[in-house]
């Protein structure tokens, strides 16, 4: 491991410097790497999934044990259709997320930094936000049929608001002294957006991306499930209507694992773009 990287990992896992922890020239206990901790958490969850169905609480027929689910998963992994479905879902997800994040971030920064626009659009945004994507299914089908745009419409509609609301809150977070500084430097409107509003909103946006990433995944799968466009969701629907619980849970496991992978990606991105932020720079102040 490069020194830089190991330092980062330490920074991530080391306790805050002010905690009541023995320190000094005594060797400090090596912190457990976060990945290991995460793996331990996953292992615990899987174990719970194995044990729970063996108790009288739930019926293993409807809530299969982890081992049964993993066996079904192994079958799936060997099938080409599974990988095709996965690719379809990922396509819808990635495209939908990209559109939602780009539109949400751009509009959020724009609306957020123009107070009159913000005031004028607030009520409309709040009106549109709670409309469930699932209620739009017939409309999506009517407009785009069962093809990709249909799924995209639902994905973007759901994920967009998450990003927008986060960015709007982030733009509002600009430090008053920093704002004064920018003004006194006579930064242009664009410079102020790029150098003040955007970096301030960035931590908010990152949370928005993490929220939107999973919402997009959820909606991509749901849309496939309901509309029947090809993808993981459709596979889940088939398993569901066939009463194949093991396979259904195996597919859910895949959806969940995608969520975890997506999160890892966003975390890595966060470490890069938020290196300056207290939440990331962590130790060694």
């Amino acid at each position: 491991m490069s020194p830089k990287r190991s330092d980062r990992l330490n920074a991530m896992s080391g306790k805050r410097t002010h905690s009541h922890q023995p320190r000094s020239n005594r060797p400090r206990p090596r912190p457990v790497p976060p990945l290991l901790l995460g793996a331990a958490g996953v292992a615990a969850a899987l174990l719970a999934g194995q044990v729970l169905p063996l108790t009288p609480l739930v019926n293993p027929r409807y809530f299969p044990t982890t081992s049964a689910v993993l066996a079904a998963l192994a079958d799936d992994l060997a099938r080409a259709e599974f990988w095709r479905a996965l690719a379809d879902t990922m396509t819808a997800w990635a495209a939908g997320l990209a559109i939602a994040v780009a539109a949400g971030a751009a509009l959020g920064i724009l609306i957020g930094s123009l107070p009159p626009v913000r005031a004028a659009t607030a009520s409309t945004i709040e009106f549109l936000r709670p409309i469930p994507s699932v209620a739009l299914v017939p409309l999506a089908v009517l407009l785009f049929g069962t093809r990709l745009p249909s799924t995209l419409l639902l994905v973007v509609y759901a994920a967009f608001w998450q990003v927008l609301v986060q960015v709007l809150a982030g733009v509002r977070d600009v430090d008053p002294v920093a704002a004064d500084t920018a003004k006194s430097l006579r930064l242009t409107k664009w410079q102020r957006l790029a150098h003040l509003a955007w970096p301030t909103a960035l931590p908010y946006l990152m949370t928005g991306v993490r929220l939107a990433a999973t919402v997009a995944l959820v909606l991509a799968v749901t849309a496939e499930l309901v509309i029947g466009s090809p993808g993981l969701g459709h596979e889940i629907a088939v398993a569901q209507t066939s009463g194949a619980a093991e396979r259904m849970y195996a597919l859910i496991l895949v959806a969940g694992a995608l969520g975890v992978a997506v999160n890892l990606g966003v975390r890595a991105l966060e470490r890069e773009v938020l290196a300056w932020h207290p939440s990331v720079r962590g130790e060694a102040r």
């Binding site: 009520s123 994507s133 759901a158 959820v218 939440s279």
Partner: protein, 256 residues
């Protein structure tokens, strides 16, 4: 007075314009699924009678309230814990991310296995969606509290509990409130979704029934109602926000 008029204009201006656009654009519509707005509005009064409010809307809103309140409490409590305790953060993150990525249509049957099919299940479904924005924002907020403020709290040995309640919680509150704002709309959406399963009444149930029985204007009126509900809740939320975070907003608006 002028202030009030200005405010009303700001709140109602854009919605009125959009409404008018929709009205005229759909005026001659013969599409089955996109009826004229005039028809939807006429249907609105007929559909959402006092009885429907009593039987469908209010119970739904009550479940929403319960689920939302529980999500706020759980999200903030968990978020504070996870945000402060590093190893817990790393140990729970993948599992939580996993849970977050399970789509409601497959999650709800699982919840039904454990929580039955009554109100408890529906509240649980609402929580399963509302929790995440609050939790994620709380964790992010806790982790971005000003280090100097944390040092101050530590130097005066405020103690875990007081540091949490007097420093970390208010320090993270702008983020927490953002999460709660997000969750509000998600709660309404999950309220509808929860009523697509094992329901016999409710606002979401009614909308789904209209859709299934091809009562399209009624379905649209339900969607309108959802939007109004969301906007109304957001207005209430904004008041609470202004009261709780007045120190935050005033610092940013009072000067200049």
């Amino acid at each position: 007075m002028i202030v009030l008029v200005r405010k009303a204009l700001l709140v109602l201006g854009l919605p009125s314009v959009l409404f008018a656009l929709w009205w005229f654009a759909s005026a001659g519509s013969t599409s089955f699924y996109f009826p004229p707005l005039s028809e939807i509005v006429a249907e609105f009064g007929e559909t959402w009678t006092a009885e429907r409010w009593r039987e469908d809307v209010l119970p739904s809103v009550a479940r929403l309230g319960a689920g939302y309140a529980a999500s706020c409490a759980a999200g903030v409590a968990l978020g504070l814990l996870i945000g402060r305790v590093r190893w817990l953060f790393h140990a729970t993150e993948p599992v939580l991310e996993f849970a977050r990525a399970v789509p409601p249509p497959v999650l709800v049957p699982v919840i039904m296995l454990f929580a039955g099919i009554g109100d408890g299940m529906k509240v649980a479904v609402i929580i399963s969606g509302c929790l995440w924005p609050i939790l994620l924002n709380t964790v992010a907020g806790v982790r971005s509290v000003d280090p100097v403020q944390l040092d101050t709290a530590a130097a005066y040995r405020l103690g875990r509990f007081r540091t949490l309640t007097a420093i970390v919680l208010p320090g993270a509150s702008p983020r927490i409130v953002t999460g709660m704002r997000q969750a509000l709309a998600i709660g309404v959406i999950l309220m509808v979704i929860s009523e697509m399963f094992a329901a016999q009444s409710g606002l979401g149930f009614a909308i789904v029934q209209f859709q299934r029985s091809y009562a399209i204007p009624a379905m649209w009126s339900g969607i309108l109602l959802l939007g109004c509900l969301g906007a109304a809740l957001a207005a209430v939320f904004a008041c609470v926000d202004r009261a709780v975070l007045h120190w935050y907003h005033r610092q940013r608006t009072e000067e200049a």
